[in-house]
Amino acid sequence: KKTTISVFRPLRFPISFLLRSLHCRPRVTQTSLPFAAAAAAAATARRAQHFAAMGNSSSMLTQYDIEEVQEHCNHAFSQQETVSLYQRFCQLDRSSGGFISADEFLSVPEFAVNPLAQRLLRTVDGLNFKEFVAFLSAFSPRATLQQKIEFIFKVYDSDGKGSVSFKDLFDVLRDLTGHFISEEQREQVLKQVLEEAGYRKDSSLVLADFVKILGNPGLKMEVEVPVD
């Protein structure tokens, strides 16, 4: 079922729609999405200056683009939310390169003061729009508990080997506590809780362990995407 969404605002401006179509809006395919995002963003920036009264520059996304992005993230976000995320992506991607660099992420002070910012940057640096939405899909209210736990697992398992070692736990705890706990105290705390949960210090945790530990009584990890 195709729904006409407000992305098709150009139909409301007869002349501007003609002018816009003269600019060859890119028809996006799977492989070209990064470049399309870049071209779209660049064209959008230029257009925003010319037609200042013509409304939001976000409507460069076509229906195809939105559906493709939604497929990729398992429909975690509605179409309106995807459009909002695209606006946000363009806003953060100031250099219009089609991806958000680490520097551009850190220019959001609320993100830069987060203790886990550096760790997250390793995953999120240089993502194009499709991957950006997939990254954020774990925070959608429609995401399952399994997806959220997988996300947390991936944050711990930064080198992607499928298991979380004592060192990974130690590193994350160090990020969260800074220099307010000494190294020995941290090690002691971790050893203590691991043993209490039935693991040894040198055992590595896999995803199933995470599911067992965090699965009950569940996680609340949701962010609302503002929709205009």
């Binding site: 409301r12 401006f13 007869p14 002349i15 925003a48 200042a52 009264a53 409304g55 939001n56 520059s57 995320l85 946000r88 806003q91 953060l92 100031r94 992420f105 850190l106 220019s107 959001v108 002070p109 609320e110 993100f111 830069a112 003061v113 987060n114 203790p115 886990l116 910012a117 999120v124 954020l136 925070f139 947390i152 944050v155 711990y156 736990l169 994350v172 969260l176 506590t177 800074g178 220099h179 307010f180 706990i181 105290q185 705390v189 971790l190 203590q192 809780v193 691991l194 209490e196 949960a197 693991y199 530990i213 965090l214 996680l219 609340k220 990890m221 949701e222 962010v223 995407v225 503002p226």
Partner: protein
């Protein structure tokens, strides 16, 4: 570890309408103090921190302050569109040339009066200053007329007294022109390159303006000293300071810098609110140069704004400079209908200092240690 259901609300995004100085004080203590034995789950569950990070990526209050909101298009109709086209023709074809001519005439009058006065009356300082003040007010009126500025001033006009400073919220460099039209202020501004810089170093210098450079590290102390000297002098023009330090989009106010509030004199707040009905007066320095911004103003119908001169405030006993700054920011925001945001405007140019992150780390570390001891 704090209760997984409760977001560790940082001082960053909430309570936009209340003054929030938690950036300067230790923050991040969650309301639910978790008890009980420390378990593996508590350490593994990083969801509150991750939620904050994702929330910041999706929408953050700081970027919102500097977003120029495009106006809602109204010309999308069959009969409104030709009207709009006529409007464009009138604005660009008739009004713009007229305004350019008016501005050119104004500059000619100003320069032909200013340069002789400046050179010839070198000896008679008082008279020279009086004439120069009047001439600057004149050229500012010409500027305002060149955008068809409709400015409504509320409140008593500022009087020239020693030991008083004026503070105002900042939307664009034209704030200064709008305010200067009424009273000859001496302003403290960032030194700009280009023709603006030339204006700054020649004409505005005579008003007693002070320049600073954001990028210079040692600049702060020199500027603070200059401020203090200026305020003490009795014959100087009243000092106008924009404590936000940067242009904000006229819907929000960012944190005021405490420099203006530590000078030991009365602070008179001024609130400036622009009406976006014809043009958005916010100068988004990332997107436009000042020249383009001026041209945009000159090709619009009018620039409408309200200026309120508010009641002078003094430091209350037992109040710190930061609290004083927040109190004045509250007064200005309420009058102009702006929301307050607890971020420092300079974060536009630099990264936040590690102390904010350390506060969060500290509170989390303390929770863990406390629970360890409880066992």
């Amino acid at each position: 570890m704090s209760d997984p259901g409760k977001l560790n609300t940082s001082s960053s995004e909430l309570d936009l309408d209340r003054p929030n100085i938690e950036d300067y004080l230790p923050s991040g203590t969650s309301i639910h103090e978790p008890h009980g034995q420390l378990r593996l789950r508590d350490l593994l569950d990083i969801s509150p921190t991750l939620t904050e990070a994702a929330g910041a990526i999706i929408d953050d209050s700081f970027t919102r302050c500097f977003k120029s909101n495009p106006p809602e298009p109204w010309n999308w109709n069959v009969y409104l569109f030709p009207l709009w086209c006529c409007g464009v023709v009138v604005r660009y074809g008739i009004l713009f040339p007229v305004r350019v001519i008016v501005l050119a005439i104004g500059w000619i009058i100003f320069l032909s009066a200013y340069i002789p006065v400046h050179v010839l009356l070198k000896g008679h300082d008082k008279l020279r200053k009086k004439i120069e003040r009047y001439l600057v007010e004149l050229i500012c009126s010409f500027f305002v007329a060149s955008w068809t500025g409709v400015v409504k001033y509320h409140g008593p006009r500022p009087s020239m007294r020693p030991k008083q400073v004026f503070v105002s919220n900042h939307t664009s460099m034209i704030d200064f022109i709008v305010l200067e039209q009424m009273t000859p202020f001496a302003v403290i501004m960032q030194k700009h390159p280009g023709w603006v810089g030339l204006l700054q170093s020649t004409i505005l210098d005579s008003l007693g303006c002070i320049w600073f450079n954001r990028s210079e590290a040692k600049d702060r102390e020199t500027v603070a000293k200059k401020l203090r000297d200026h305020v003490q002098g009795s014959d100087n023009n009243p000092l106008l300071i924009f404590p936000e330090g940067t242009c904000v989009n006229n819907h929000y106010t960012v944190m005021f810098k405490k420099g203006a509030f530590e000078l030991g004199c009365t602070v008179c707040p001024i609130a400036v609110k622009y009406n976006k009905i014809f043009v958005d007066a916010f100068w988004n320095s990332r997107k436009q140069s000042f020249t383009m911004h001026l041209l945009q103003l000159m090709t619009s119908w009018a620039v409408v704004c309200d200026v309120w001169y508010l009641e002078p405030q003094t430091l209350r006993p037992g109040e710190t400079a930061i609290e004083f700054a927040e109190r004045v920011r509250d007064i200005i925001s309420v009058r102009a209908g702006l929301k307050m945001v607890p971020w420092d405007g300079y974060l536009k140019y630099s990264r936040p200092s590690p102390k904010h992150r350390e506060q969060k780390q500290q509170s989390f570390a303390e929770t863990i240690l406390r629970r360890l001891e409880e066992q």
